[in-house]
């Protein structure tokens, strides 16, 4: 009986049963991003708990909304260039793809520079990690987001170099689509953080 059924699937029966290696890695990346949601969710919850807990130190009046809006805009635009990079590689246009990869990494770096500038300003105004529960949770949340952006920039740079030396393989390791998924996630998280931390001033 089983033999009869087996014979109806000759293409699956003979030789190696091939798995979709790309799908496997994409599944794992989505799972990882699901885990990251809880990671950032826990920090956002902490921030919401402590947002009015200033311990006598400075609070949200330090925020320069126009400046952070501009750097948020830069980060969101990097999602656009990321899509263009992925699109170029999908069409086997590595040259164009590298240009967009570099643009994405550059926009990410501009955002990071903005964050470093912002942190310097805040520290000068007396808001440091040990100032208050508000300060601790603010620096931890935005700091971990910054680390995620920095890791993303490093991955983009690695993609750029691998592509330049012709070692960017679609079928193993990280590829532009997986880095793109990560990058978009980090951008989306920033939308939440920007809204919760900077814009909601109740």
């Amino acid at each position: 009986m089983a033999q009869a059924v087996a014979n109806t699937h000759p293409e699956e029966h003979h030789g190696e049963h091939e798995h979709d290696v790309h799908l496997i890695r994409k599944t794992a990346m989505w799972v990882f991003l699901g885990s990251e949601c809880i990671f950032f969710g826990s920090m956002i919850a902490t921030f919401l708990l402590y947002r009015n807990n200033l311990n006598g130190g400075p609070g949200a009046e330090l925020f320069n909304i126009p400046f952070t809006s501009a750097s948020s805009f830069v980060l969101l635009m990097s999602s656009l260039t990321m899509v263009l990079a992925h699109n170029s590689f999908e069409h086997n246009d590595s040259r164009q793809g590298r240009v967009w990869l570099a643009a994405t990494a550059l926009l990410g770096s501009v955002f990071l520079a903005g964050q470093i500038f912002e942190f310097t300003e805040f520290i000068a105004a007396g808001l440091t990690l040990p100032t208050s529960p508000f300060a601790s949770s603010f620096y931890m949340l935005t700091g971990f987001h910054g680390i995620h952006v920095a890791v993303g920039v490093m991955m983009l740079a690695a993609m750029f170099l691998l592509s330049l030396f012709g070692k960017l393989h679609h079928d193993r390791g990280l590829n532009v689509e997986l880095v793109g998924l990560y990058w978009h996630f980090v951008d989306i998280v920033w939308i939440v953080i920007f809204t919760v931390v900077y814009l909601l001033q109740v």
Partner: protein, 640 residues
Amino acid sequence: MAITAEPQQQQLEVYTGEKGIWAWITTVDHKRIGLLYGTTALFFFILGGLEALFIRLQLATPNAEVLSAEAYNQLFTMHGLTMVFLVIMPIAAAFTNYFLPILVGARDVAFPRLNAFSYWLFLFAGLMIYSSFLVGGAPDGAWVGYAPLSTQITEVVRMDYWAIGLQLLGVASIASSANFIATVFTMRAPGMSLLRMPVFAWMALVVAFLLIFSLPAVGIGLFQLFLDRNFGALFYEAAAGADPLLWQHLFWIFGHPEVYVLVLPAMGIVSEILPVFSRKPLFGYEFVVFSGAAIGFVGFGVWAHHMFTSGLGPAAEAGFGIATMIIAVPTGVKIFNWIGTLWGGRIRFTTPMLFSIGFIAMFVIGGLSGVSHAVVPADTQQHDTYYVVAHFHYVLFGGAVFGYVAGVYYWFPKWTGRLLSEPIGKLHFWLMLLGFNLTFAPQHILGLNGMPRRTYRYDEGLGWDFWNLVSTIGAFLIALSILVFIYNILRSRKNGPIAGDDPWDGRTLEWTISSPPPVHNFDEVPIVHSLDDFWHRKYTEDETGRLVALPPVSGGTLTVDEGGADGGDVVDDDHDGDGHGDIHMPSPSYYPALTSFGLVVMGYGLIYLSWGWAAVVAGAMITLWGLFGWSLEPVTREEH
């Protein structure tokens, strides 16, 4: 199954990979990684057990002086931490690693090198936490590490070992969970639909999701704790207006799903064993599977029942109390399904079966005392007493550990090709059952009589003397039973009866391949037609519903071997040559071990921040070296 002696001899010579220590360090074979997890877990089980024996010696008599208060704090902290993170989670990972790919008909997990990375990180992080004993003292703030106790700065950096060690263990678990989820979702054999997967594979999947969504919460808590301790952050500093209760929330949002992480794989194992030794299909397979998934979902909504005495207010307490009662429903469904499986079956009381039945009985006791915690006023009385200790040992030792031991007896022949001794196994079972109940049943009484947890001594005349002594005697009986177990393993590994492919007349795919399995698991990827596929290849029913054996086909694998008429040795050792030249298994790699080593060096640096920056930098370099080597090396080396 009529198996002749000749192929059995051959099967012990199946090629299972290179020999030598370097081959084990660089292995990416999910079966070897599974064995490494299992062996390491047994090693830590002995350490955690010794800690428990010291605790019981100290508590055997009133005002004993075996341990100082300081040593006692370290030992009960390390006992809890060891048993949860370094024993039960890894032993579950051992079974999952070894059998998840085989049960779903895959040749390996989705990411073999990531799998190796998870193992090495677990091992190094475990050793790192234990190394704290050598540098002045182990963590002593209980495995739950409640703030603000855990944020207090002491001369010895104990709680930093705990915070960093758990963080690293969490990274290892998240990596392996993503790996297992990808394996289940994308690498099942043709025909293996989700509802044809064995229950154990299902439970492994649920556990992977639980870890993915719960570990980051405690990860954040641990980072906050670390920042408080080392950088003056104020997350848990009540004097600055912070709320230390936040720690309890973050910890238990992880901690409660974690208890299902510990027990669900054991439930999966028992759900595999009961049908085999009852010669009946699992009663209500779908109910068992969906109950497991339901436990996973509801498990995220009950965390605050650990905090009923911390003043959450009546609304929250009522809500979490009700959710806790609700989670008993799917658990009860499973228990009735297991009883339904036994009902009317042709039961064989083998050692794995005994341990499985022991699991059900002990877990029911633990489950019932657990329901009593859902009643807030009762829980307020029981909180932090030995009643709670008794409860969770009934679910985690009487439950989980009995289930995993059942798994060892059940699958040992698949690992080694030899059966564990049945008489010694039965002795082990009865000793362990007796010892376990002597140890923990009296703790219910002690707890209800008001004996608090985590105190290192008690006065005479409180009515606790007798039951404490009984409990200590029971603990030594457990230790004796574990010695019997280890003796059984060591003896049977070399001299046990030869098992053959299918010693138990099994139902699932692992019994279709040789014992031990070849490196690539399946010569031909199996095609699955039903739940319990292997059983239906062996048996059919006649008109009256009686089982009728079908003639055996080509040595147990039903896929046709086109290569020749010599049906008996499809799983012979032609793996590396002409016969199956199209099977490419991933090459060994030392980069996963190197990467995890780098992370642990970084961890040490973070613990001793004042002068540890060099170690942090060095560890980061090693990690990056490992990661780059990892991503640039070819997955499958061209052999010829």
